[in-house]
């Protein structure tokens, strides 16, 4: 895993020193809020509904055990004992005081972490496939490329005042687990005639105007990639609509100018700047890549796994839902669900963080990942260790067997924390998970992703949920709009709106009616919700939601 160079460490220390002084000057009154705000946003500090919030980057979702322990330490020392993992592989602390934040940042720096460029109109934390370096379907580990992009984009002098925020996601596998087509830039690493490079996708994004990213280049060699990315961002930096923040993201630029014009401009720009990349970037890449060498996998029998799998139904259920195929023989990728029924999606207590760190250290080659689906991943575990791992997880409320099921809900903080929210998300997620747990239906329902956002900004990815829920404020009352048929994978699709929204009291029964309709209409248990929706269309679900009222309004 990547370790800071002296340069990285000095850079972060200097930024922290500057920010400490800025906070001091804000507190002693020498800086007004207007003067201070740009500084705090450069360092991940937001003002939310009830308090300040500190957003810490977890680059490409990768953590060492000691880093997770430090996150626990922060939660305990300067927050209320927990942290919230987000859909962008960040962790958010909801209750720090302004005066404590410099201490928190110094503590983070001691384990090579920071909050730089987790807010503001900059290139944000680069996200990646949370199974990177482990997945059986992987062509190249996306993390060295993600780290290269992080170094290139951090404090990039040309890109500190972009038209709007800019998000990059990287995958190196066949399956897309990083939602790359919903990012400003999405990269899919692949090989062409033995040359490692990336398909470059631009102009994706959810939010107010959801767009699926378009391929701007089929294959850009790794050697050319930094210059190409710089060309894309710099073309947008000039063209991007600074006059209207709702039109400032690159998705609108691509939409307004067309992908062909953008491609031509990028190519011109690329021709100009490519010669300035004289090879140091590839030396750096090789240095970074060496640090992501796979761990020393061991060759051992998996009998312990097979025995537990046959004997223990609780372990079996967990193994069936929470494990994924690993590239090394005898190994598995294990997901730790942060979605216990009724709990807040993505929250982990300090104690749980420590338990996960301990497991990673003892059994998981010292690695943890945070998924954009707000779960934690043990990317490399030998199958023979899984029964013990499961027992430890179970003892700490971390063994929920629901990955990919209806209670594995993405929910943004919504109006319980977020100052931009128009409605709450968390209680809706809690109620849906609790309800389907009571019904004992979720294993029967199978693969079904519910994603909830508390406003149009779509941090909860509702557009790409099989069932998406968007919380709105309708004349001073929380109201929830439903979309169906979204898809967050390599076949990315935006969901279709069902019709009028539902009140906070009506939304859970409405979701239940959708699920019942699916169960009634599916061809067999193998047909997933998404497949059934694609075959059946909206009609049966509309009927289930709105009854004859839907028919009447159609006839009219």
């Amino acid at each position: 895993m990547y370790s800071y160079t002296d340069f990285d460490a000095a850079f972060v220390a200097e930024r922290n020193r500057q920010f400490r002084a800025q906070v001091a000057r804000r507190i002693d009154g020498s800086l007004t809020e207007d003067e201070f705000k740009p500084f705090r946003l450069m360092n991940g500090v937001y003002l939310q509904l009830h308090a300040y919030m500190l957003r810490v980057a977890i680059p490409y979702g990768t953590l060492r055990a000691e880093q997770m322990e430090m996150l626990a330490h922060l939660a305990e020392t300067w927050d209320k004992g927990y942290g919230h993992f987000t859909t962008r592989q960040n962790i958010q602390y909801n209750w720090p005081t302004l005066g404590d934040i410099p201490e928190m940042l110094d503590a983070l720096a001691s384990v090579e972490m920071h909050a730089i460029q987790t807010s503001g109109n900059t290139i944000r934390n680069v996200t990646a496939d949370h199974f990177a370096g482990a997945a059986a379907d992987e062509i190249a580990d996306p993390r060295p490329v993600a780290e290269l992009i992080r170094q290139w984009s951090t404090d990039h002098p040309e890109f500190q005042a972009l038209p709007r925020k800019f998000k990059v996601a990287v995958t190196g596998a066949q399956a897309d687990r990083a939602v790359i087509r919903a990012h400003d830039i999405g990269l899919r690493l692949h090989e062409q005639n033995g040359d490692l490079g990336a398909e470059v996708i631009v102009g994706g994004g959810l939010g107010r105007t959801p767009m699926i990213g378009k391929t701007i280049a089929d294959h850009v060699s790794l050697d050319d990639l930094p210059a190409y990315l710089e060309a894309v961002v710099s073309v947008w930096n000039l063209l991007g609509r600074r006059d209207n923040k709702y039109k400032a993201r690159i998705k609108i630029t691509v939409h307004e100018h067309g992908i062909d014009e953008i491609r031509a401009r990028v190519e011109d720009r690329f021709a100009l700047i490519r010669p300035t990349f004289t090879g140091a970037h590839m030396d750096l890449y090789e240095e970074i890549r060496a640090q992501f060498a796979p761990p020393g996998f061991r060759n051992a029998p998996t009998d312990a796994f097979d025995t537990a799998y046959a004997a223990d139904p609780v372990f079996r259920a967990w193994a069936d839902t929470n494990l994924s195929a690993h590239k090394a023989p005898g190994y598995a990728i294990a997901q730790i669900s942060l979605k216990a029924h009724g709990a807040t999606p993505g929250d982990a207590s300090a104690e749980q963080m420590r338990v996960m760190a301990r497991i990673a250290r003892a059994y998981g080659h010292d690695e943890l990942r945070i998924s954009h689906e707000q779960n934690v991943v043990l990317p490399h575990v030998h199958k023979s260790d899984l029964p013990e791992i499961h027992a430890i997880l179970k003892a700490h409320g971390l063994a929920t067997a629901n990955i990919g099921l209806i209670s594995d809900i993405i929910a943004c903080p919504g109006m319980d924390y977020c100052a931009l929210a128009t409605a709450r998300s968390i209680p809706i997620a809690q109620q849906i998970a609790t309800r389907f747990d009571e019904l004992k239906l979720e294993h029967d329902v199978g693969d079904l992703k519910i994603k909830i956002s508390g406003c149009i900004n779509a941090c909860g990815h509702h557009h790409v949920g099989h069932i998406g829920i968007l919380g709105l404020d309708r004349a001073g009352v929380e109201n929830y709009q439903v979309t169906l048929g979204g898809d967050h994978t390599e076949t990315l699709a935006l969901g279709d709106r069902t019709g009028p929204g539902f009140s906070a009291e009506e939304i859970v029964p409405a979701i239940e009616r959708i699920v019942t309709a699916y169960l009634n209409h599916r061809e067999n248990a193998e047909e997933s919700f998404l497949q059934a929706y694609r075959r059946l269309g909206m009609e049966p679900f509309k009927q289930a939601l709105y009854g004859d009222a839907a028919k009447r309004s159609q006839a009219a």
Binding site: R26, I27, D28, G29, T32, E33, L47, Q48, L49, H50, A51, Y52, K80, N94, W95, P96, T97, L98, G99, T344, D347, M415, D416, Y417, A421, R424, I426, P427, Q430, D473, G476, V477, E478
Partner: protein, 99 residues
């Protein structure tokens, strides 16, 4: 006839702790909504807003929030202010912990 003025309070977050606070009639910042000064006159509300905004070294994010006048003081007319005065609904981590 001029449109009736919806009563308001001045609210903000405390500069250092970030806690939700309300401006009282005697110019304190209180964490408790019932202690807030209820502003029923538009001109007076604007004046108080200017005064509050000048207190940059105490608070951040000052604004006027709509309230209803009730027997037990100002009551939020919108759910956002209801959550702000109470705390989040998933944990008793906010003001509700001490209320």
């Amino acid at each position: 006839m001029p449109r009736a003025f919806t009563p308001k309070v001045i609210t903000a977050n405390a500069l250092i702790s970030g806690e939700v606070v309300y401006l009282t009639a005697d110019d304190r910042w209180s964490p408790h909504l019932p202690q807030a000064e209820l502003l029923t006159d538009e001109a007076h509300a604007q004046l108080r807003l200017v005064e509050a905004n000048a207190r940059q070294s105490e608070v951040v994010g000052v604004y006027l929030a709509d309230m209803a006048s009730t027997d037990h003081g100002p009551e939020p007319t919108h759910f956002r202010e209801d959550f702000r005065r109470r705390g989040p609904s998933n944990y008793d981590h906010g003001k509700q912990a001490v209320l």
